[in-house]
């Protein structure tokens, strides 16, 4: 059983890397259990009118520095975006079950928009062995890419302002035939992307793991608030924070 700890951290940097997107580096007071790709942390903000912690994917981690890439979407992330170097947060983690690569399969990573935050650590660790497909709204979002451009990801934008015009699942469809040997897909993005992926991968039942997002209170599996509906008839609602956040695409109810 991996240790889960609550560790104080200080913001080293917290920069806007694309419109509405921030990348934060948090220096932890001591090392945390090494997070696996797909795992997440619960961040506590102090002294703000924010009651609960907020969940964030681990974008990267090393030498007690935790990297979090986030999109400013609500009260918690708006507060986070205003935080400056030196300010304190508490980090609980690492949490949840990460991605589980199958032996003998080439990893194919698919990210939709800010979903890159949940995919990046896996990309970093599998670099050179697989392919990354990333779908954005426009070239603006691609600004996030500066640091992951090496390795040559396939990129689509809805407006065609960068890379291939269209959505990322169509882009993946165009290249699926070129993949050699068995592949395993790892995806993080909106639910609509998962539905398209299911349509694309269904015929060959290609193994696919998806990272789900849900509002959470505890992150530990003790409140049962963050459930996702699965096809398990006996117990359909599974905790995203505990049984997930990574689920088998073929077992969730879309």
């Amino acid at each position: 059983m991996d240790r889960i700890d609550d560790i104080e951290g200080r913001i080293l940097q917290n920069r806007c890397v694309a419109p509405g997107h921030h990348l934060a580096a948090v220096k932890l007071a001591r090392p945390m259990t090494k997070p696996r790709p797909g795992q997440f942390v619960m961040v506590r903000f102090h002294g703000a009118d924010i009651f609960l912690r907020r969940p964030f994917s681990v974008y990267d981690y090393g030498r007690s520095v935790l990297w979090i890439l986030y999109k400013v979407a609500g009260k918690g992330t708006s507060h986070f975006a205003r935080m400056a170097r030196g300010e304190a947060v508490n980090v609980l983690g690492p949490l949840g079950k990460g991605f589980a690569p199958l032996a003998g399969h080439s990893p194919v990573l698919v990210a939709g928009g800010i979903g890159i935050a949940g995919i990046h650590l896996l990309w970093k660790l599998t670099r050179g062995k697989g392919a990354l497909f990333w779908g954005c709204t426009s070239a603006d979002d691609v600004g996030l890419l500066g640091r992951i451009a090496d390795g040559g990801p396939y990129i689509s934008t809805i407006d065609g302002s960068f890379g291939c015009r269209g959505n990322v699942v169509d882009l993946l469809a165009d290249h699926l035939g070129e993949m050699k040997g068995p592949i395993q897909v790892f995806a993080c993005g909106p639910e609509a992307m998962y539905r398209s992926l299911a349509g694309l991968l269904e015929a060959e039942r290609i193994p696919c793991q998806v990272l789900l997002e849900e509002r959470m209170a505890c992150g530990l599996g003790i409140c049962f608030g963050c459930v996702a509906k699965t096809l398990d008839k006996k117990e359909p609602y599974k905790r995203v924070c505990k049984e997930g956040p990574v689920f088998d695409l073929w077992q969730i109810s879309l």
């Binding site: 505890c218 599996g221 117990e235």
Partner: protein, 305 residues
């Protein structure tokens, strides 16, 4: 180390701090952080005779310093609880309070009957905040006469000590507690979350309904604890809004024999062990040797403001 053990239903608990039902999962989930035998007793997630799937999303909503939840009593049912969950508490030798519920009186009775006597079970705790589907959905715990009837039926179905967990949504909570006592309840747990609603202003619609919890509950709970423990000769377990050791001590001083910590664990999962240490430190510093000297101490000086 001060002696912070408390007596409850003829049993000694190592400390007076428990989790509130449904805020520590099945216990096993907290073990990567601290062992469950840290608790004075573990209070189970609400169990029913048959498993319940619970509600679809959304189940959670943050309000100002409060949490609104509508989990919908998702649980694996009594049978699986004893087969799969209970062995952890046997291994840790941790006393267990079994929280349970039903949507009809018969379901409560069937659930209580299904819980066998085990040396580790400290008590049953019946959740009286459930809607009675045979009575148009009015909650079982709202009217003293309903509480009296259902507590008496459940008491007839079990030989275990019975705690009645009350809802704050009632006209006279002391009258409800008295009805439970007169029907045979061995103790009272006060109080449950407060029923609440949120509005989505942009969409001009109801955004959520659920039970509201958080530190705002503390003064409401304290008053109920003081009134009920002053009126009845049975133990009161206090819960609602406890965030730190000072809060827990105030509950004990108002007359609670033990306390339950809920929402605070979500914000800081180490809250419970910290509260236990805080109670110990308070007693050490003041050279209080027994926790009995604290329990109810504030009630003597109680006066209206």
């Amino acid at each position: 180390m001060a002696d912070i053990s408390v007596r409850l239903f003829g049993r000694t608990l190592r400390n007076p701090v428990m989790n509130a039902s449904g805020t520590l999962g099945y216990g096993i989930e907290i073990e990567p952080l601290w062992p469950v035998d840290t608790l004075g007793a573990y209070v189970s997630k609400g169990l029913s005779a048959q498993p319940h799937h619970g509600n679809p999303q959304p189940r959670l909503r943050e309000e100002r310093s409060a949490l609104m939840n509508s989990i919908g009593l998702q649980n694996i049912g009594v049978a699986r609880f004893f087969a799969e969950v209970f062995p952890l508490f046997r291994k840790r030798q941790t006393p267990v309070i079994i929280n349970f519920f039903g949507f009809t009186e018969e379901e409560y009775v069937r659930c209580a009957e299904a819980i066998g006597d085990d040396g580790l079970i400290c008590a049953l705790e019946m959740n009286l905040s459930c809607p009675n589907i045979k009575e148009g959905g009015i909650c079982f715990g709202k009217r003293p006469e309903d509480v009296h009837r259902i507590v008496r039926r459940v008491k007839g179905a079990t030989g275990l000590p019975l705690l009645a967990k009350l809802t704050p949504e009632t006209e006279d909570i002391t009258a409800v507690a008295r009805a439970a006592y007169e029907a045979g309840a061995d103790g009272i747990t006060v109080l449950n979350t407060f029923p609440a609603l949120a509005v989505d202003v942009e969409g001009m619609r109801t955004a959520a309904r659920g039970g509201l919890s958080g530190p705002f509950l503390k003064p409401l709970a304290l008053r109920a604890i003081a009134d009920i423990s002053g009126a009845l000769p049975i133990p009161v377990i206090g819960t609602g809004g406890i965030m730190d050791a000072g809060d827990a001590l105030s509950f004990l001083m108002a007359g609670a024999t033990a306390v339950q910590v809920g929402t605070a664990t979500f914000i800081d999962p180490f809250t419970i062990p910290r509260i236990i240490r805080g109670i110990d430190e308070y007693m050490e510093v003041r050279r209080i040797s027994r926790i009995d000297e604290i329990i109810g101490a504030a009630r003597a000086q109680d006066r209206a403001i």
